[in-house]
Amino acid sequence: MTDETILQVKGLRTYFNTDDGVVKAVDGVDFSLRKGETLGIVGESGSGKSVTNLSIMNLIPNPPGKIMGGEVIYHDTDLLKLSDKGIRAIRGNKISMIFQDPMTSLNPFLRISNQMIETIVLHQKLSKSEARAKAIEMLVLAGIPAAEKRIDQYPHQFSGGMRQRVMIAMALSCDPEILIADEPTSALDVTIQAQILDLMKELTSRLGTAVIIITHSLGVVAGMCDTICVMYAGRIVERGSVDIIFEKPMHPYTRGLIKSVPRLDRKNGARLYSIQGQPPNVIDLPDCCPFFPRCEHAMDICKTKYPLVHDDGNEHRVACWLYGREGK
């Protein structure tokens, strides 16, 4: 990991028009990613994690979704201002994605070879047979046994874990600078989860790929990431290095999340902590801290104004009125 910043998201806002009103799925998200860094984005379902990352790739289905504002600076280019052709040259090449459900993310009607080779041929100056060799090489790296034979099979002939390995092999086949993994293990069972995470960790560190991993599992984040962003109701409420967040979480929401992880060293019979209440409806959210109805420390100001971001200097930022108005 070096200090060179390769991706900067500034003030990203993505809204969805629905019959009930405008859903502000992502409402002013800022973060940056350094070369080779692994960034975890955690939050509940509906907090805007996936929409943030689909917006980076400009893959928001429009309508109903629309990127209303902000910038996504990859090196020196704003990806949101690129032409369709321009962004296509980035997708799958410089920035690639893997998705939550490997059972449905591969095209069931096409052979694995076909799906892998089309990506490689699209982005690299390789012939079909060279691309095939490259695809087999990636499958071997991803731990698919008998890859030369299995590459000509269809997705339904693979198990869930194997399909996620195929997805990883496919995503890394063009040697991307950034890999976005949207809940890569949520649909897999626990033993397979660990294998897939290990594989991602090993391959990305070997290839020097920066990773944005979206998850609602703090365990995944703790094991994989350098930096954590905690999202709530479309915004990042706390950001810091993994050590700081787990040692000194500042936002009441982050503290609640960490407290709700089941622990082996806790006494038998103790009830598992849970954050009371429900995530807010992000339609027509007033200017307030969206967490205040669930917060143990809610004050009057929380109900009327969204908190300013407090920076304690160690690149640990938190958006909460508990930490006063100093800082930025």
Binding site: D84, F99, N107, P108, E118, L122, H156
Partner: protein, 309 residues
Amino acid sequence: MARFIVRRFLSLIPTLFIIITLSFIIIRVAPGGPFSSEKNIPEAIMNNILKKYHMDEPFLQQYLRYMGDVLHGDLGPSYRYVDHDVNFLISHALPVSMLLGTISMLVAVILGILVGIVSSLRQNSWVDYTAMSVAVIGISIPLFVIGPVIMWFFAMRLQWLPTSGWIDSRRGWVTIIMPVITLSFTYFAYIARLSRASILEVLRSDYIRTARAKGLKQSTVVVKHVLKGALLPVVSYLGPAFAGILTGSVVVEQVFLVPGVGRIFIQAALNRDYTLIMGEVIVYSLILVVLNFAVDIIYGFLDPRISYK
């Protein structure tokens, strides 16, 4: 796969056997007979006629005799067209109906899929709304209304096309236009709606998101990733569509005076021409079961997840 094909093919035989037997019984049970509309035939002559066609024999014997003839490929003599047998009548009319049916089917499938693609990719645009409104009209209005209406419009109001008849050296192919429009309209409409709905569903699926995330062009995504999956429901609809085209052609041939098996069928039914009706039933059901068989096989080639055992 080969075993599946053979087994599926063999299952056609009992299906056909049941269809033929049931039709044979139903036709004989219906009141009236091929000669009952003749006036005042002396009983002796009537007995001779019945004897000539073996209709004086017991029912079971008639049935066995008929099945024996059918197995030898002989559909028997027509009871009303004295000089022609059923094989001759059908073999002359069938090519006409096949041409009409095939062209109508092709028009319905090709236009239906094209309109489905355009509507789904331009969802909620005026193109989509127009196409789907036309499709609703096509699905809800029956053939016997569409036929006369377009005949009135194109042949009588605009006088662009001849009202009826069939391809001949004088008028050429123009006579086929209205029968094809009438016959294909409903199926075009249905296929357009079906493929639109199915493409929209596939467009929202995870694997299409993956294809986009790989940086593929929209046209590649649609042609390579969307269509194969999206057209499966259309392929399975082809079986019922063939059946509909066959029965529809009975009406259309009558409206536009097309000399095909459909017109013969209606005349045969009105005349109680037992053997001709039976011959038509056999030809129709043969076409239908064979096409359904073909659709099953095609389906297996299109969807790799289906394994035939």
